[in-house]
C-alpha cells in the first residue's frame, strides 16, 4: 500500500492501480462516461479528470497510475469547469428530446447534466440526423443520441468477441457503425444486448414489443399467457427501486394476473424439462459415441455466434430448444389441445432477461404452420414499464403461484438464471440417469460464482468426465480454440452469452454494477439452499407431462416439439 493525498486528506492506494480505482475505494465519486470496470482504460471522454500537483494538464484518473505521495484534487474549480464544459459540448449536438426518450430518468448524460447544474444550451452545434436502425429483431440503434463513449464497441469486441460495431469516419462526423453502415440484421451482431446495458444514453435500446402485448391484453378474443424466465423474479424489483437480490416471485405472478394475463407459467418449469431432455441427450451421446463435447443451447446469442463464427461446432450444440421455446411449443400444442383452445387464439408472451430471445422467438425454426411457439418477447425492463403503465402497485399485492400444468419448478431449474446453473442442474440429473441414484451433495461449488471460465472433473459411475462453464463469449471463443487444438478432456460445456449469465442479461435493469449481479446470483443460490426439490427429474409436473403426453425424453413427441436445428450463417458480414 502507498499513501496518496486526495483533497488534503490521506488515502491508501495499491501500488500500480489507477487513480480512479483508489478514489472509488475511498468513497470519492468522480464522474465517468467511457470507463468500464475490468477493461483496459480508454481515456476517451475525459470526464474523470483530476488535478495532480506538479502536472501541468488535468489528468484522466481512469488511465493514470497512483504514485507515492501524489497530491490530487478531485473537485477543484478548474476540474469542475472542465467536466462541465465536456458535458456542455456533448449536449451541443445531442437531440433535446428527452421527453420522448426511453432512457429519460435513467440516462447518464441527463444525470450528469443535472449534477453539473446545466440549465441552458450553451454551445449550439449542428445535430447530425442519422436514420434509426430498426433492422434488428432485438436491438434498435439511434446514432443521433450517441455520445461516442465507445462502451458498446468495447463490450462487443473485448467481452463478447463479436465486433459487430466500430467507430467509422473521422472527427466531427465520426459515428459508431456496423460494417458498411448496414443494418444490424446483416451484421455479425448476436443480439445479446450487452451494448444496451453499457450505453449511457438512449442510442441503444431493445426493440419494444410493449404495444403488441398491450393490444393482445385488450383483445377479448385472445387467451393471453405469459411465462417468466428464472432470473426475472430476482431482478424485476430493482426496476421499482429495491436493492439488488430481492426475490419477488409470488408478487410478480400476482402482478401479471392483475395485468390481465389469463395464465401465468414459469419458464423454470421448462428449464427442468430442458434438463430432462438435455441430460438424456448427453448420456446418449456418451454411450453411443455421439459428438462431444456437447454444448448447451439455451442462450440464443451463443447459438448465433456458433452459427456464424464456428459452424464446425454446430453438431456439438445440444438439439434441445431453449426453455422459452420448449414452453412456447407446449403452450401452443399441448395446453391449447387440453383446454380446447385453437392455437391461433393464444397469444403467448415471455418475459426474458434477454434481447436475443426476441430474435430466437422469430427464428423460422420456431414457427410451424404459421404458429409461432412464442408471439412476443419482453425484456425485464419492458415488463416493468408495462406494470407502471397499467398502475400496478407491487406493494399492495398478495403473493400468488404460477399456473398448472407449467407452474412447478425445482431449484435446479431456477439456477438457470446464473452462469453454471444449467451445468449444475444437468449434472444432478445426468448423475441420476447414469447411476440410478441422486448425488449425496447436490451442490457443485466448482461451477458456481461469477468467474468467466470454470471447470470441474467428476467421476460418475466409474468414468471421469470433464465439464466446463463459460460466460461472456470471448471466454467461450478461447475454449473453442483449445478444443480445435485437440483438447479432449471436456465432455459437456455450458455457455452463457452474457458474463454472469441471465442475471446480467441484455434485457435486465440497466446496471453495470458487478455487486448487483453478485447479489442476484446469491439470491438464486439461497433459493436452492432453502427449498426442497433440488432435482429437475423430481419435478412432479414434468413427470406428469411425460406420463400424459410426451412419453419419454428424446421420444418422438419431444423430437417434434422440443428439439430444433441450427443453420450455418454465411450471409452476415463477419
Amino acid at each position: 500500500m502507498i499513501q496518496i493525498e486526495v483533497n488534503n486528506k490521506p488515502v491508501q492506494a495499491r501500488e500500480g492501480e489507477m487513480i480512479l480505482s483508489a478514489l472509488n475505494r475511498a468513497g470519492i465519486r468522480v464522474p465517468t462516461l467511457c470507463f468500464m470496470e475490468n477493461l483496459f482504460p480508454s481515456g476517451a471522454c475525459r470526464m474523470c479528470v483530476v488535478e495532480v500537483e506538479g502536472q501541468r494538464n488535468l489528468i484522466p484518473s481512469c488511465a493514470f497510475p497512483v504514485a507515492d505521495g501524489m497530491k490530487i484534487k478531485t473537485h477543484s474549480p478548474r476540474v469542475v469547469k472542465a467536466r462541465k464544459t465536456i458535458i456542455e459540448l456533448l449536449l451541443a449536438n445531442h437531440p433535446n428530446d428527452c421527453l420522448y426518450c426511453s432512457r429519460s430518468g435513467n440516462c447518464e448524460l441527463q444525470n450528469l447534466s443535472e449534477e453539473f447544474g446545466i440549465t441552458q444550451h450553451r454551445f449550439k452545434g449542428t445535430t447530425a440526423v442519422y436514420p434509426l436502425d430498426t433492422s434488428s429483431l432485438s436491438i434498435v440503434r439511434d446514432p443521433s443520441k450517441c455520445i461516442l463513449c465507445g462502451r458498446c464497441v468495447r463490450v462487443c469486441e473485448e467481452v463478447q468477441g463479436v465486433s459487430a460495431i466500430d467507430f467509422a469516419g473521422r472527427g466531427s462526423t465520426s459515428s459508431v457503425e456496423t460494417a458498411f453502415g448496414e443494418g444490424l440484421n446483416v451484421s455479425s451482431c448476436i443480439n445479446c444486448g450487452q451494448c444496451i446495458m453499457v450505453c449511457p444514453t438512449g442510442a441503444l435500446t431493445e426493440r419494444s414489443r410493449i404495444n403488441d402485448v398491450l393490444d393482445a391484453l385488450d383483445d377479448p378474443e385472445k387467451v393471453v399467457v405469459v411465462q417468466h424466465a428464472p432470473s426475472i423474479s430476482v431482478t424485476l424489483a430493482e426496476e421499482f427501486g429495491t436493492k439488488p437480490g430481492k426475490d419477488i416471485a409470488g408478487i410478480m405472478v400476482a402482478a401479471f394476473r392483475q395485468l390481465g394475463f389469463d395464465r401465468v407459467f414459469d419458464t423454470s418449469f421448462s428449464a427442468d424439462l430442458t434438463i430432462m431432455e438435455e441430460a438424456s441427450e448427453l448420456v446418449q451421446r456418451i454411450t453411443n459415441g455421439g459428438k462431444l463435447p456437447m454444448m448447451t443451447s439455451c442462450s440464443p446469442g451463443w447459438i448465433k455466434y456458433v452459427e456464424q463464427f464456428y459452424p464446425d461446432f454446430i453438431d456439438n450444440i445440444s438439439s434441445c430448444k431453449s426453455p422459452q421455446q420448449m414452453l412456447g411449443a407446449l403452450i401452443k400444442h399441448f395446453f391449447a389441445q387440453r383446454e380446447g383452445i385453437s392455437p391461433d387464439k393464444i397469444y403467448s408472451v415471455s418475459v426474458m432477461p434477454c434481447t436475443a430471445k426476441k430474435f430466437e422467438g422469430d427464428r423460422p425454426e420456431m414457427i410451424h404452420d404459421n404458429v409461432a411457439d412464442v408471439d412476443a418477447v419482453l425484456t425485464t425492463r419492458e415488463m416493468a414499464k408495462i406494470l407502471r403503465m397499467r398502475g400496478i402497485d407491487l406493494n399492495s399485492l398478495e403473493p400468488d403461484t404460477a399456473d398448472s400444468p407449467f407452474g412447478m419448478r425445482s431449484t435446479a431449474g431456477k439456477l438457470f438464471g446464473a452462469t453454471g446453473g444449467v451445468m449444475e442442474a444437468a449434472l444432478r440429473t445426468a448423475y441420476y440417469l447414469i447411476t440410478g441414484s441422486d448425488m449425496d451433495d447436490y451442490k457443485i461449488q466448482d461451477v458456481r460464482g461469477l468467474k468467466g471460465h470454470k471447470e470441474v472433473h467428476l467421476t460418475i459411475g466409474d468414468t471421469e468426465f470433464g465439464f466446463a462453464v463459460v460466460s461472456g463469449l470471448d471466454n467461450a471463443r478461447q475454449l473453442l480454440e483449445e478444443i480445435r487444438m485437440g483438447r479432449s478432456d471436456i465432455h459437456f460445456i455450458e455457455v452463457m452469452t452474457c458474463p454472469g449469465g441471465c442475471i446480467a442479461g441484455g434485457g435486465q435493469p440497466h446496471s453495470t454494477d458487478i455487486k448487483a449481479i453478485r447479489q442476484r446470483m446469491q439470491k438464486l443460490y439461497s433459493i436452492d439452499r432453502d427449498e426442497r426439490v433440488h432435482f429437475s427429474h423430481k419435478n412432479t409436473e414434468v413427470q406428469r407431462l411425460y406420463d400424459e403426453f410426451l412419453g419419454k425424453p428424446l421420444g418422438e413427441k419431444s423430437h417434434h416439439l422440443l428439439h430444433t436445428k441450427y443453420v450455418k450463417r454465411e450471409e452476415v458480414l463477419l
Binding site: S163, I165, D166, F167, L573, L574
Partner: protein
C-alpha cells in the same frame, strides 16, 4: 470477383494488422473500390472483423466503397475555393446527383469526391471532371455541366 484479390494477399505472407492499409490500397487500385466481398476476404486473411476494416477505411478519404462512375467529379474544398463559396457548389452538386461524396449515382454515370486542394486556386471555386477543370463554378452552372456529360454518355451508348 472472390478470388481476384488473392494475388494481392499472397504478396503479404504472415500479414499482421499493420498490413491492412497497404492491402486496402492495393485492392482499391485493382478493383477500383473496396467491395464487400473484398473486405470480407481481407478480414478473414488478417483475422480482423469487417466492422473494424470499415472503421479504418472510413477514417481516410482515399477509400471508396462503391464502384466509380463513368465520370468522376472532384469538388475542391480547399481554402481559396471555400472562401469563394465551394460549399454551395458541393451542396448543389449533391442535389443535382442525389448522392453524397464517396457515392456513385444509381445510373453508374457519376461518382462524387471531395478533394482538399487541386492547386488551381486562381480558378476558385473549381471542380474537375475526369481531369477537365471548370473554373469559377456557381450553383446555377452545375446543371448545365452535368447535363453535358449526360448527353455525352447517351451518345456513347447510342453508338455502342
Amino acid at each position: 470477383m472472390n478470388t481476384d484479390i488473392q494475388h494481392i494477399l499472397t504478396k503479404y505472407p504472415n500479414a499482421q494488422r499493420d498490413d491492412l492499409i497497404p492491402i486496402l490500397q492495393e485492392v482499391q487500385e485493382f478493383i477500383g473500390f473496396l467491395s464487400r466481398e473484398a473486405v470480407v476476404i481481407i478480414g478473414k486473411y488478417l483475422k480482423l472483423p469487417t466492422s473494424k476494416i470499415y472503421g479504418v477505411a472510413t477514417f481516410y478519404n482515399q477509400f471508396r466503397f462503391q464502384a466509380p462512375g463513368l465520370y468522376t467529379i472532384q469538388v475542391c474544398r480547399g481554402t481559396a475555393c471555400h472562401v469563394k463559396g465551394s460549399l454551395k457548389v458541393l451542396e448543389a452538386m449533391q442535389r443535382e446527383l442525389n448522392i453524397k461524396p464517396g457515392e456513385t449515382t444509381r445510373d453508374g454515370l457519376f461518382s462524387l469526391e471531395v478533394v482538399a486542394c487541386i492547386g488551381a486556386c486562381g480558378l476558385a471555386p473549381v471542380i474537375s471532371i475526369d481531369g477537365e477543370f471548370y473554373a469559377g463554378v456557381t450553383q446555377d452552372k452545375i446543371k448545365n455541366i452535368i447535363d453535358s456529360y449526360r448527353r455525352k454518355a447517351e451518345k456513347i451508348e447510342a453508338n455502342a
